[in-house]
């Protein structure tokens, strides 16, 4: 059976200290199924972590819904626990996410104990923990059982976190920046691990990152976020080799070592989510608008908001007035953008 976790028009708001409302997610549609790797990319502050947290019920949406296998997730303790039995989150910061007073064994066994999985299995707890550690690439697992987090390297901590998530044998894994704090040499190993789990266990993975190279390494599909919205999504090959949205193009151009592209370094930073610009939320920083390339749609860019990009996994979509205008002119294009039209 394939599991499916999806977000529909998800909106999450935070009240800042000054009393203003920050809309960290502003209508997001996204779908992840078991057996596929989806990458969620975007600059810092685009709402990636907030989406990951909302998907397993850690952040409460003010609008929209999360669906698990097609049915709406209610927020009762039972429903959340049942969801978290199948969907596991690996948090962004490996050094803070392990209790300093728990051994590796206790940290990994936590999920087994919470969901009482040992009694339903023919294996002992120690065997299950050892298997989880081994599948996260920590061998021999017994040698790590009694270590405390401060006795591990950063890469080992990250793998212990992954092992803790794998111990309950989830169908989906959400990994928030799984390698950003790690050395280059360890990075590849963790990514290979995620791919192997997909092969061996049919695991579905939503990997959150700002690293497009990582997405190219492991993701089947990619969703690009900007200021609380998905602005482009589609198969990784298409999105990364033929990006449509000027934001994706800019992100791609600044990845070191892509020589074919003249780097388009966007000025400034992502705007504060308490003040989302009118019209297309990207227009104040849009290089296409600034260069005059988007002259014919400039008015819409500044005033007409774009609709939420569908989360259906088929085709390559982007939320951009310029792209829709061009698509309109060339209807024979293979890409689908009808949801984009305002």
């Amino acid at each position: 059976m394939t599991a499916e976790l999806s977000a529909h028009g998800l909106r999450v708001e935070f009240t800042t200290r000054t009393g203003r409302v920050a809309r960290a997610l502003d209508g997001v549609d996204l779908r992840v199924r078991s057996g596929e790797v989806v990458a969620l990319v975007g600059e810092s502050g685009s709402g990636k972590t907030t989406l990951a947290r909302a998907l397993i019920g850690l952040a409460r949406p003010v609008a929209g819904e999360v669906r698990w296998n097609g049915s709406r997730l209610d927020r009762s303790a039972r429903a959340l626990k049942a969801l978290r039995r199948q969907v596991q989150l690996v948090l962004q910061d490996p050094s803070g996410a392990l209790n300093p007073r728990q051994t590796v064994y206790e940290s990994v066994a936590e999920g087994l104990r919470v969901h009482r999985l040992v009694s339903g299995s023919d294996k002992t707890e120690a065997e299950l923990v050892a298997a989880a550690l081994a599948s996260a690439g920590l061998r021999p697992p017994e040698s790590l059982f009694l270590r405390y987090p401060h006795e591990l390297s950063g890469g080992q901590r990250q793998r212990v976190l992954i092992a803790g998530a794998l111990a309950v044998q989830p169908q989906l894994l959400i990994a928030d920046e799984p390698v950003s704090s790690l050395d280059a040499s360890i990075r590849g190993e963790i990514l290979a691990l995620l791919l192997r789990l997909r092969e061996e266990l049919g695991l579905g993975v939503l990997v959150v990152t700002h690293d497009l190279g990582l997405a190219w390494n492991i993701a089947d599909r990619i969703a690009v976020m900007y200021l609380g919205r998905v602005v482009e999504s589609g198969p990784t090959e298409e999105v990364l080799t033929a990006p449509q949205h000027p934001y994706t193009q800019a992100l791609l151009s600044v990845v070191p070592e892509i020589e074919e592209l003249e780097p388009v370094v966007l000025r400034g930073e992502i705007p504060d989510p308490t003040r989302i610009p009118a019209g297309c939320r990207f227009h104040p920083r849009c290089p296409a608008l600034a260069s005059g390339e988007a002259e014919e749609v400039a008015e819409s860019c500044r005033t007409v908001p774009l609709s939420v990009l569908s989360g259906e996994p088929d085709g390559h979509r982007s939320a951009c007035h310029l792209v829709s205008a061009r698509e309109g002119a060339v209807p024979a294009s293979s890409t689908e953008t009808e949801e984009v039209a305002p």
């Binding site: 626990k81 989150l89 948090l91 910061d93 728990q102 051994t103 936590e110 999920g111 919470v114 059982f145």
Partner: protein, 304 residues
């Protein structure tokens, strides 16, 4: 199966060894605090004396009817610390009094710690009305002057060793609760607590497995300070005549000394020894508490 049992057994064995090693590490760090070690030594002497009281002095010496010494006799070769107004040996009273003083101090502290830790955890961990109400209650208890409250309660409950313990226990927890609350507030924001939630653990799991173990060191360090306070309170209450009249404690000794005018008659041996004992024990607990706090609180440790 047998081959699997062996590593598991040894794993548990190893875990115990690790825990021992960590205690040993803490002990080694503690030993480096000279003042803490001094406090511990003083305390040990008092505990030994309290435990060995029947060996050191016969309990008959407490009985007024059996007392045969001089009334308020000065220290002599027979009565090293003199006698009280009933002709009992002050040394005997002091030795037996240490039992009551330590017992009251420790028991009251246990009550105070349990209530304080629970209230602190709950008011820090739960938002919403539970957190608000518990916090309010703590604040109220804190602003009500402590001694009048204790006196009032003791008067209502009536004298008695058990009542004294209860009175001290239920009046001394608010400062502990505030301390635990502030620790809890910072620990519940840690990523590992969020991870426990993401794994599917409920609130009690998060609180019991992650928040509580991480505030425990604070509780320990605070315990010693509370013991000191409880012993002082016991002394005060006994001195005010609110203690258990049937038992001798340092406080009740001071009380009777005051009653019979030991100070005006110059019978210093009836006043100073219990006073010094109280000061020494309180000092010992305070020194241990300060040292423990530095050993167990990594932030303070880093500054050294």
């Amino acid at each position: 199966m047998t081959d699997l049992a062996a590593p598991r057994l040894s794993a548990r064995h190893l875990a115990r060894q690790r825990r021992l090693a960590s205690y040993r590490r803490t002990w080694r760090a503690f030993r480096r605090h000279r003042s803490g070690v001094a406090g511990l030594a003083i305390l040990l002497v008092f505990v030994l004396v309290a435990l060995a009281a029947p060996l050191l002095a016969s309990s008959d010496g407490l009985d007024v009817t059996l007392a045969n010494g001089p009334v308020l006799g000065a220290p002599s070769s027979h009565y090293w610390l003199g006698t009280d107004d009933n002709g009992r040996s002050v040394l005997t009273l002091l030795i037996w009094g240490s039992r009551i003083s330590l017992l009251v101090g420790l028991s009251a502290t246990v009550i105070s710690m349990v209530i304080g830790t629970l209230m602190g955890l709950v008011s820090g961990y739960f938002g919403g009305w539970i957190g608000r109400i518990t916090f309010r209650v703590t604040e109220w208890m804190l602003v009500i002057p402590f001694l009048p409250l204790a006196i009032g309660l003791a008067t209502v409950l009536g004298p008695g060793l058990f009542n004294i313990i209860i009175v001290i226990g239920v009046t001394s927890w608010p400062s502990t609760a505030l301390l635990i609350r502030s620790q809890t507030l910072s620990i519940k924001e840690r990523a590992y607590v969020e991870r426990a939630e993401a794994i599917g653990g409920g609130r009690w799991h998060q609180m019991g497995r992650h928040v509580l173990p991480n505030v425990m060191p604070m509780v320990f360090a605070n315990t010693t300070l509370t013991v000191a306070g409880a012993i002082l309170t016991e002394t005060t209450l006994s001195f005010l005549g609110l203690g258990d009249p049937t038992r001798t404690s340092w406080g009740s000794m001071l009380d009777s000394a005051y009653q019979v005018g030991a100070i005006t008659t110059g019978s210093w041996w009836f006043v100073i020894p219990p006073g010094i004992c109280v000061v020494l024990v309180v000092l010992a607990f305070t020194l241990i508490g300060q040292a423990l706090e530095e050993v167990l609180n990594p932030r303070l440790r880093a500054r050294r």
